[in-house]
């Protein structure tokens, strides 16, 4: 797969979700906790392009998993989608998933069939008391066929497709009898059993060894090429993003801070957070014996709200009087490729126009 520059929507006004499987628009999710309200997502916008792999990168607490769960309407109890739309277009007309009853028939016919998900920890997502085959069969019988033998046949077939050695036998084994990599393959098999339009993978390789990770990534690449499905791949590993994704969305504290085709994200990063993230990973052959570049501080406590740009307390390029008061808006990168957008006051178009005038005049008054 080579990085391509097919347009994905950039600014909220200019979005053309024609080639998008899922279009997340201005999504807000909040959690009500005894300690106060936590705004997990503060207006997230992105499209998952048809037949491509979209990477969602960010550190813990940036809202990447919540986004995935919101699409499937399986946000944990305390959380609610307070604003925004999630348009899903697999049928002729798009459905707004947020308008569906999470327990209703329509949502249940989409979840697991048209959109399915792989989780980080396969051991907690597989049922330990049923054999692998039975669990895959369950999904097949729910969505595809009522014939038990046919379901069985398909379960074994899909296990074979994910590269499971001896699939007939594996179908009869229980999750604990399999190794971590095999369990993740079983999870993928289950997710693929109904040939979904969109596969959401939430850090599927984080708990695995590098060698197993490489196998799983190769498998996902092959399966994607074969079936043409779209994949939304959530990860914190820049290495995995570089190897697998076509387009990337970088999230920080419940907001998208930068989006770009993968090549531009790595070779022309714009947002200071993206740059810091790229520079803080140890790279083979670069700067051994020298300190790694670090970001100061850590991700802020979720109960506090940061005024202005959420990244400004850690940002090496923060501008006083602007970044700490005004939330930047997203704008396409000047001279950048189509689909490259950034949300940072450093770049033209990101400061709301009225505000920009205000800050300058305030400064003049100060003098």
């Amino acid at each position: 797969m080579t990085p391509t520059s097919t347009p994905t929507a950039t600014a909220p006004g200019a979005r053309t979700p024609a080639d998008a499987v899922v279009s997340v628009q201005n999504l807000h999710v909040e959690f009500k906790t005894p300690l106060g309200k936590v705004n997990a997502l503060n207006g997230v916008n992105f499209d998952v392009p048809q037949g491509k792999v979209l990477g969602i990168v960010g550190e813990s607490g940036c809202g990447k998993s919540v986004t995935a769960r919101a699409i499937l309407q399986i946000v944990e109890k305390a959380g609610t989608i307070s604003k925004g739309r999630i348009l899903f277009r697999s049928r002729p007309e798009a459905v707004d998933l947020t308008s569906l009853d999470p327990q209703g028939r329509e949502m249940r016919s989409i979840r697991g069939k048209e959109i399915s998900m792989i989780f980080q920890e396969p051991m907690t997502s597989l049922n330990p008391v049923y054999p692998i085959g039975d669990q895959i069969e369950e999904a097949v019988r729910l969505h595809q066929t009522r014939d038990k033998d046919e379901a069985r046949r398909r379960a074994v077939e899909v296990l074979r497709r994910v590269g499971m050695p001896n699939p007939e036998q594996v179908a009869r084994t229980y999750p604990h009898q399999l190794s971590g990599g095999m369990r993740q393959r079983a999870m993928i098999a289950m997710a693929l059993s109904c040939t979904p339009t969109l596969l959401i993978a939430d850090e599927p390789t984080t708990a695995l060894d590098v060698t197993t990770e490489a196998q799983i990534l190769q498998l996902m690449r092959d399966l994607q090429a074969e079936s043409g499905m779209s994949i939304m791949f959530i990860t914190h590993s820049m290495g995995v993003v570089a190897q697998l994704c076509d387009d990337v969305v970088v999230m920080y504290l419940g907001r998208v801070v930068e989006r770009a085709p993968v090549d531009d994200l790595f070779y022309n990063p714009k947002h200071p957070y993206t740059i810091s993230l790229l520079r803080s990973i140890p790279r083979i052959g670069v700067g051994r014996g020298q300190p790694l570049e670090t970001m100061k501080g850590g991700v802020p406590d979720p109960y506090s709200t940061v005024p202005g740009c959420p990244f400004h307390p850690r940002c090496p390029s923060a501008m006083k009087g602007l970044c700490d008061t005004v939330v930047p808006i997203e704008a396409p990168v000047e001279g950048g490729v189509d689909g490259h957008g950034v949300r940072c006051h450093l770049y033209p178009g990101c400061t709301p126009l009225d505000v920009a005038v205000d800050t300058v005049s305030e400064r003049e008054e100060e003098e």
Partner: protein
């Protein structure tokens, strides 16, 4: 130049497998099965491998947190001279232990939630009766500032800290008794990328400051490449290759090392290579394959590999590998990656400044010397 601090020879650690009503021993899990390496004073020695290869067990057995089944772990103590940790008596151990500390992987379970940070850090000094009263409090405050925390943090409990800060607390505790050797057992694996870099930098600056020697156990090869001077690769309880970081990463002699290196996801979308995939999983250490343990997954395997166990042998320049074919194979090492372009940010700062018609206050371009805080 080589001044050994720790010499490990033939170290083994077997865990019995019990089964049935009478809990009879039905087998042995050979977690560590004849490991040899030497760590020189002041260096960082990396120990890498897949999960289950015995790297953590090796780290723990070296400190005698696990009783070794066999072999020798000789520690060169300044006053006592060389002492075998595995057979040292209580009196000797009491003198050795302060010199050898450990930093654990999980900063959440390695700190007692019911103790204040001050007590956690003071505990080793209380047990060894090195500091008392005011002196002890001062020392705790000093340690906290050494690891980049504030002295007033001593009265708080671990839950009030983030993962990276907790790992700093664990490091402060490990430093309390002025150790010589610290076993770092996956110290950054549980941390976010940006915090991982802070902790790695801290470990490196502490090493320079206090003349520390690290045994750095990790599964993350890029972290090890960054921090280690020499590296050993483990597979199924055995060291299969040892060498300097350059030797091991750029001219590996063991096919397993090559496979590990190629599996590493490169953070560069222009280097999308099909990795040398290892087929299958790591075999069970309770029932390892005959001959070379790696032969069932090795693409170069020959008949000899299936029957004859290869010994770790010197290939020159201090590089050792356990492979029958080490001399004849041409293996591929890691490819160095280009650095991240950063000019864009600096240009942007300038552009933004000119748009605002004057330089904004507090603008600093991205620098590599960003302070750790």
């Amino acid at each position: 130049m080589s001044d050994p601090l720790l010499e490990v020879t033939g170290l083994t650690k077997h865990f019995p497998v019990k089964n049935g009503l009478l809990r009879r021993v039905v087998g042995q899990v050979k977690a560590v099965d004849g490991v040899d390496f030497t760590i020189n004073r002041g260096e960082t020695f990396g120990l890498v491998g897949e999960s289950g290869c015995g790297k953590s067990t090796t780290g723990r057995t070296v400190l005698r947190l696990e009783e070794p089944t066999g072999g020798e772990v000789v520690y060169h103590h300044e006053e006592l001279g060389p002492v075998d940790i595995g057979t040292a008596d209580r009196r000797q151990l009491k003198r050795l232990r302060p010199e050898m500390q450990i930093i654990f992987q999980d900063p959440f379970s390695s700190l007692d939630a019911r103790m204040t940070v001050g007590r956690i850090i003071a505990e080793p000094m209380v047990i060894n009766r090195t500091h008392h009263g005011r002196e002890l409090r001062d020392r705790v405050a000093e340690l906290l500032s050494v690891v980049g925390l504030r002295p007033e943090h001593a009265s708080r409990y671990p839950h009030a800290f983030s993962g990276g800060q907790r790992q700093r607390i664990g490091i402060a505790r490990a430093l309390a008794l002025n150790p010589k050797l610290i076993v770092c057992d996956e110290p950054v694996s549980a941390l976010d990328v940006s915090v991982q870099a802070q902790v790695l930098n801290l470990l490196e600056s502490l090493q320079a400051q206090f003349d520390l020697t690290y045994l750095f156990v990790s599964h993350d090869l890029s972290v090890v490449e960054h921090i280690a001077d020499r590296v050993a690769v483990m597979y199924l309880g055995k060291v299969v290759e040892v060498g300097t970081t350059d030797q091991l990463f750029y001219s590996p002699k063991m096919p397993y090392t090559e496979a590990l290196l190629s599996a590493l996801p490169k953070p560069d979308p222009r280097k999308r290579t099909k990795p040398t995939l290892l087929t299958g999983d790591v075999p069970s250490p309770a029932n390892p394959p005959h001959g070379c343990h790696f032969h069932p997954r090795c693409k170069y395997a020959q008949d000899r590999c299936r029957t004859e166990v290869p010994q770790l042998r010197d290939l020159g320049g201090g590089q050792l590998a356990a492979c029958h074919l080490a001399d004849s194979l041409e293996l591929k090492g890691a490819e160095p990656l280009p650095d991240v372009p950063v000019i864009s940010a600096e240009e942007a700062v300038r552009a933004a400044a000119s748009r605002n018609s004057r330089p904004p206050a507090d603008v600093a371009p991205h620098s590599t010397q960003e302070a750790m805080s």
